[in-house]
């Protein structure tokens, strides 16, 4: 036995207190996950309605030359990177950062970023990327206002032709145990295209004009996509943290079991040695 029984006892105690912390964090994450999922459910009708309205307009007027829909040669790109403010969530943050880097490759000087969460901000600031704007401290509780300000920065940059495409990188919430990093192109949007085959529905009036309605609707749509991404990312974050903490707790339990076994063996060995010593001592006295 290399470790004395007292050392093992101390080691068990240490692991046990870590286990308690990870267990508590797991419970907190699962409570927050529930709240985040509720919010995701509530946001969905809004997103769907805005999307339906835009499609309605586009299907009626056809693919028009709207500044937000026009495809330009891509020289400069803008990435919106959504991570968390805190770690201890398994590969949640590093998966996103790695995905962004693999998207950008060596094109660093033609890329600007909007980062959400301290993890992305710190990572890319250290690597000297051009960060247009950063938001921190809201990743667990995103509001529509946050999404609006992010989207407006992106829309403005696109309209001024400072960038030729805008992409958002976030973590899709598949289920509590599965989350997938994902890239979507916001501008020019892939999903906003008139369906040529679809038959025309009843003629819709636009007040004041279809252009002006689109001027209003497209930014709204972009804002709602950003909002959706923020919310989904906040769900994924909690899910990832919950899983990570659950694994940590399980590992701690396993280690405690192992150590307990070692402890018992060491104790047994010590007792045996002692008895042998006493017996030998008694024998010697005879």
């Amino acid at each position: 036995m290399t470790e004395s029984t007292r050392d093992i006892k101390r080691h068990i105690k240490g692991i046990n207190s870590i286990k308690q912390i990870t267990k508590a964090m797991e419970l907190v994450a699962s409570a927050r996950l529930k709240r985040a999922r509720d919010r995701m459910e509530k946001a969905r009708p809004y997103y769907n309605t805005v999307y339906d309205s835009i499609m309605e307009v586009l299907n009626q007027v056809g693919n028009i030359d709207h500044p937000y829909l026009k495809v330009r040669d891509v020289k400069k790109s803008l990435y919106i990177v959504v991570t968390a403010d805190r770690g201890l969530a398994g590969g949640f943050n590093s998966n996103i950062n790695r995905l962004v880097e693999s998207e950008i490759k060596d094109n660093k000087e033609n890329v600007s970023l909007i980062t959400v969460g301290t993890k992305a901000r710190d990572y890319f600031r250290k690597r000297e990327y051009n960060i247009l704007s950063d938001l921190v401290g809201m990743t667990e509780n995103p509001t529509f206002g946050h999404a609006r300000s992010i989207a407006n920065i992106a829309l403005e940059a696109y309209r001024q032709e400072e960038v030729d495409e805008v992409k958002i990188v976030y973590t899709e919430f598949v289920s509590t145990i599965t989350q997938k990093p994902k890239v979507i192109k916001l501008l020019p949007s892939d999903s906003l295209k008139a369906d040529e085959k679809r038959e025309k529905r009843a003629i819709v009036e636009f007040e004041p004009s279809s252009d002006e309605v689109l001027d209003y609707l497209i930014p709204k749509y972009i804002q709602s996509v950003v909002y959706g991404a923020l919310i989904e990312s906040s769900c994924s974050q909690q899910g990832a943290r919950m899983t990570a903490m659950k694994n940590a707790t399980d590992n701690a339990e396993e280690m405690i079991d192992d150590l307990q076994l070692t402890y018992n063996k060491a104790r047994q060995a010590a007792i045996t040695t002692e008895i042998t010593e006493i017996v030998t001592g008694a024998e010697a006295l005879k």
Binding site: T49, S53, E56, F144, A147, A202, E205, F206, Y216, K220
Partner: protein
Amino acid sequence: MGFKLEVVTPDRAFFSDEVDMVILRGIDGDFAVLKDRAPFITPLSIGQIRIKKDNKEMVAAMSGGYVSVTKEKTTVVTDSAEWPEEIDVERAEEAKKRAEKRLNGNKEGIDLLRAELAFRRAANRLEVAKKYKD
């Protein structure tokens, strides 16, 4: 029988029911939507939603958005909507004061526009709260 009205905001489905009439504030002023209106989409400005159903009127404050009328239903999409009893009067007062200060602060461009919008939202909330809160 009336028509189906839905009011949706990013954080909830605010209202969904059969109504007789809804009065909204468009860019150029108030207008009403009745049953069987021709399909129609238009932006809305900061103002009130007045919903009439069975000779009763319900009023809510809303902060801009748009309305889409189709054959099946009328949908109002807005960034935020509140019933009078949900309005936080104190918060709105504060927002109004803050916006006023900013408006008097000789700012230019986008900040001025933002302050003006904030002022109008706060003023609208206060108006609705005062008028309809019991």
